[in-house]
């Protein structure tokens, strides 16, 4: 099934065709913002090596969301992976996910871990949350520290762009891409116990793909 949406950011990468399995659900627009309580945004923060494709995304929840994570089992785990595993060890809920493309913040040692802490604290302050309510994902070149100044300087505008709309979800889905030729975003509506619920998501990935997450 292919979603022909006029995805925000589509001038950078068009939306992927989504091959959903058959089932008691219907496709709805909106990706991560389709479910109630979620907002998203994507913008160009100056992190990519070249071009001005959006490279910074934020997904927030209006309430304490029950949180789960599944992470690479590669022992050279990136700093954001180590950070998220720690946060989800001490907390069952979260309120936001900050995602950057451009640099993976992997193989960056203690300095890279410090960068994650600073980014989580900065976005938490702007959202009036505690740092441990924020989760972080990074993707891009391994071995390079994130362009932290550019990222931190972009956060106020990123927060101001947060929106519960389809455009918010679509721009976030574009902002997390790296070598992807398409953005990946989908949402469905179904019934659980007779009540309408929605499940949505976005993803990225095109190379270095053989996930073994746990």
């Amino acid at each position: 099934v292919s979603l022909s949406t006029n995805a925000a950011g589509a001038d950078f990468v068009p939306p992927a065709p989504i091959f959903l399995p058959e089932g008691p659900w219907k496709l709805v627009p909106g990706g991560v913002t389709a479910a109630k309580g979620f907002k998203a945004a994507g913008m160009y923060g100056g992190l990519r090596a070249k071009g001005e494709k959006p490279d910074l995304a934020l997904v927030t929840c209006d309430v304490d969301a029950i949180a789960a994570g599944s992470f690479t089992t590669n022992v050279v785990a990136a700093a954001p992976v180590v950070y998220c595993r720690h946060v989800l060890d001490i907390s069952t809920t979260a309120r936001a996910v900050l995602i950057n493309a451009g640099q993976a913040n992997a193989a960056t040692g203690d300095a890279g871990y410090q960068d994650v802490i600073e980014c989580a604290s900065a976005i938490a302050k702007l959202l009036q949350l505690r740092a441990e309510e924020v989760l972080i994902e990074s993707t891009g070149v391994i071995g390079h520290r994130i362009k932290k100044e550019a990222l931190l300087n972009s956060l106020p505008k990123l927060v101001s762009l947060l929106s519960p709309t389809v455009e918010g979800a679509d721009s976030a889905a574009v902002a997390i891409t790296t070598t992807d030729l398409v953005s990946k975003s989908v949402a469905i509506e179904s019934k659980v116990g007779g009540v309408d619920i929605r499940v949505g998501g976005m993803a990225k990935g095109s190379g270095m793909i053989h996930p073994n997450m746990a």
Binding site: E137, V192, G193, I197, V199, G205, G207
Partner: protein, 220 residues
């Protein structure tokens, strides 16, 4: 690297949500492959707001849990397949379905072994219905099965049955692969290894010259 963010407004307890998410990840993202490289950054974060007001799910066995699990599996599979479809240099998505195994895990492992095979991927790119490479990749998956029960089909074209290679229309099989490549469609590989109940799927893509070109230039 693959990243994912999943959101829902269903109501679920923390420990059950974590179990459901891992089950769905194992049926989706952990069943895709493009190049066999497991990234340092692979992450899926899943958040449940509960704002729908649906029944609070606190057990995996309830009907509500099965309904939410099915939705979670579907969304993650849709996203996971789009990642494999968009593999670097890919011209088509490869969907490998394995049946007849002892259980879901064993079927999934064989399916992913075939989807990961560089030789099988290159054969698809060369539009070569090379059943031997498919049989080989199934054989080294680490799951024992009777090779005399191995059946392999490419789309609707059966290439092997009961462990015996079949005479087949090579031009038609090659045309099937070429057409999929021309529309960036899906090549379906069906494998049966016996009469067990276990079935599993994996998704990958063909291996083209562009994969090397892209990665020779995208350096650290």
């Amino acid at each position: 690297t693959m990243l994912g963010v999943i959101t829902t407004d269903a109501t679920v307890t923390g420990d059950i949500w974590r179990k459901m998410v891992q089950i769905a990840v194992n049926r989706s993202f952990n069943q895709i492959t493009v190049d066999g490289d497991t990234s340092t950054n692979d992450t899926v974060i899943a958040l449940a707001s509960g704002i729908s007001g649906s029944t609070r799910i606190s057990s995996l066995d309830s009907d509500e849990a099965q309904q939410l699990q099915a939705c979670l599996d579907a969304v993650m599979q849709g996203l996971a397949k789009s990642i494999a479809w968009d593999g670097e240099g890919a011209t088509c998505l490869i969907e490998v379905t394995v049946t007849g195994a002892n259980n879901e895990m064993e079927a999934a492992k064989i399916a992913r072994s075939v989807a990961s095979s560089s030789l099988a991927k290159a054969a698809v790119y060369g539009r070569d219905p090379n059943w031997g490479r498919i049989a080989c990749a199934a054989g080294y998956a680490g799951i024992p099965f009777n090779p005399n029960e191995l059946c392999i089909s490419l789309g609707d074209i059966q290439l092997m049955d009961g462990g015996q290679p079949l005479p087949f229309d090579r031009a038609a099989a090659s045309a099937y692969l070429r057409q999929a490549g021309e529309i960036h469609g899906t090549v379906e590989i069906h494998i049966s290894i016996g009469s067990g109940e276990g079935r599993g799927r994996a998704w990958g893509c063909d291996l083209s010259y562009d994969y090397v070109k892209i990665n020779a230039e995208y350096t650290t």
